[in-house]
């Protein structure tokens, strides 16, 4: 894919020197983020839970929210137990591993030259479906 010359790109899209313009922009973001973090940690402090007790298994064990989707997927795939005792976990893990690999190597098999969302509907639909699947699994995991 032909890349325009850097100088030409700068003229076409607009540019600013890294220093001081871009650095100032980043510094403003830094200060705003700092304010947000102080606000959040003042209003909702980090949770303080009881100490770990290896002899007391809680009734419901749930991972952090970003692993909830994957965890719920594993739990759902346990319904596949009729295929054999090995099936649920191996299928649950392999499907997720395969999904991760598909996303990982995305640029190497997605050879559609179009970039605008309207001109690559299949990829956009698949992407939206994937995002919704992740969200639904996470919410389901949260409430189950």
């Amino acid at each position: 894919m032909a890349q325009p010359e850097p100088r030409e790109r700068y003229d076409r899209y607009g540019s600013e020197p890294f220093f001081p313009n871009h650095v100032i922009r980043q510094s403003i973001q830094f200060v705003l983020l700092f304010a947000l973090l102080i606000l959040l940690s003042s209003l909702v402090p980090a949770p303080m839970l009881p100490k770990a007790d290896p002899f007391d298994t809680p009734e419901y064990v749930k991972p952090a929210w970003y692993f909830l989707g994957a965890y719920q997927f594993l739990k759902v795939s346990e319904k596949l137990g009729f295929l054999g005792p090995w099936a649920p976990k191996v299928i649950g893990i392999l499907a997720q591993g395969l999904g991760a690999m598909v996303i990982w190597f995305l640029p190497f098999w997605d050879r559609n030259p179009e970039r605008h969302p309207y001109r690559r509907p299949t990829a956009i639909r698949a992407g939206i479906a994937f995002v919704f699947f992740f969200l639904i699994m996470t919410i389901w995991g949260y409430f189950s």
Binding site: R9, L33, F34, L49, D53, K89, I93, H116
Partner: protein, 252 residues
Amino acid sequence: MTEERDRDARHRARQEFEKRTVFTEIVNLFSLVGFLYGALDEELPFREAVRKQFEKPVCFYRTKLESNLLACLGGIAFLLYLFLLGTGILLLLYYRPTTAEAYSSVVEITNRVPYGWLIRGIHFWAANLMIVTVLLHMMRVFFTAAYRPPRDVTWVNGMMLLLFTFAFGFSGYLLPWNQISYWATTVGTDSMSAIPVVGDTLKYLVRGGDVVGQLALTRTFAFHVVILPALMLLFMVLHFLMIRRQGIADPL
């Protein structure tokens, strides 16, 4: 003769740049310790390299406000990483990574250490927000198809960064040594054993034994504070160098 004139022109350009960007003071400060003037600078032109990096323009989308806002997400994730690095170093000054003391040291940080609650809160919130921004950044890159060649290696590199971010989350979850962290890690490492062939070995390696205990805490601690930050920084530098070299993707 021409050589001399070239050197003169470069010298003038440098001076002008330093004057224009109020960069002179910083340069003078470094020159005090012999970094930017003298023999070392003759052989390794640091000033030249720094000037090139600082003067190189940063592209942005002049026309579309929304793509500019969306293009910030990666930078925000990086800033959050800096917050995590800073607060993590401060937490490290008081945290004790043993099964007997871990929990009480976290209680001490929260209740006794001055501003400990704030440092821990910022670490907690920055970690959660970083995962959100990293996922949003990934979605932005996917939906605008910015991962296409020649930026395919940047995408794969970014997937490594995502993996490290999740590994950070997983290992950091055990460190407070509370009920949820202990049992979530037990369940999490249990599901590792479902991976074919290497699963059981992996589970045993992470736990350092049959159950989550002192070795598991030592290992997740080492991963969380030494191994992962170094790996993350290395891959981040690669990520940024590639973006700096190629510029951002064309507007749609």
